[in-house]
Amino acid sequence: MNFLSSKCRSRVLLALTISLAALVSAACAPMVPIEGATFTPIAASASPLQLSTEVNLKLSTGYSRTLPAGSSWRAVGTLPQGTVYQRINDVFTIEGRQVHEAYLVVQRSALLGFYLPAEGIFSPLTPSVSLPLGAP
């Protein structure tokens, strides 16, 4: 870079450094935690799960998600960790390095984590969150 002035050279170096930092930080977003899962599908349940108030979730990846008040979820299967509920008429995702469609894994009205149907794995939520069940 001898053909560049020292001022210009330092600007180029700064731009390269910032670009590299941006690339590295984007590539280093944490992955969602995962555990093996044995999913057993179930027939449509009689009554869906409904949330009476909004629930704000802080994921271990640093991202957050909101379960809206009044949202309905139907049981679609079970895992050793709990019952698996899929959002009705909408889609729910969790996010880390990638974005994943996710179903809720609930045991005794506590949200223990998420089932990622495309990957067939369980992603625990730590700590678990108590869900306000019932009509809003």
């Binding site: 910032i18 690339l23 994943h100 990957e119």
Partner: protein, 151 residues
């Protein structure tokens, strides 16, 4: 002289970006001629708002690693695919994919939108709710998909 050149460059850049925006038929026209889903298949819509923010970033969209179209401002396209597991991503410097399940007879909506770091921009692919997606699709233009048809 310098000011004239800057003006010219600005106008040329704006013209290039505008030319790159989607300009095909609108959603209502396209949907009228959309074939019914075949048994065992679902439909996937990719769309991007008409915002000019990051309009110059128009990467290829990949579905399970296969190029199926481009992310263009104000554009959308759709694909019919067998029920199964999918991951969609945009080919930018950092690839962030969205994984999802497509069930038979189901329609999934994937929004592509620009996201900016300190200097570099990229396109993020996210699953969108049917309600929001359908409302937004009405104003968008069809850009076509299936650059590399599935085997």
């Amino acid at each position: 002289m310098r000011r004239t050149f800057l003006k010219f460059a600005g106008v040329a850049s704006l013209a290039a970006i505008l030319a790159a925006c989607a300009s095909g038929p609108k959603f209502q026209e396209v949907i009228a001629g959309t074939p019914n889903l075949k048994a065992g298949e679902g439909r996937i819509y990719f769309f991007r708002s008409s915002s000019m923010l990051g309009a110059a970033i128009q990467p290829e969209i990949r579905l399970n690693g296969q190029v199926v179209g481009n992310s263009r401002p104000g554009g959308f396209f759709y694909l019919d695919r067998p029920a199964g597991n999918y991951a969609a991503s945009a080919a930018t410097e950092t690839e962030k994919s969205a994984s999802f399940v497509l069930q038979s007879g189901e329609t999934k909506y994937l929004r592509t939108s620009p996201s900016f770091g300190i200097i570099v921009g990229r396109i993020v692919v996210e699953l969108e709710s049917p309600e929001k997606a359908k409302a937004e699709l009405l104003s968008l233009s069809y850009t076509g998909g299936e650059k590399t048809p599935a085997k």
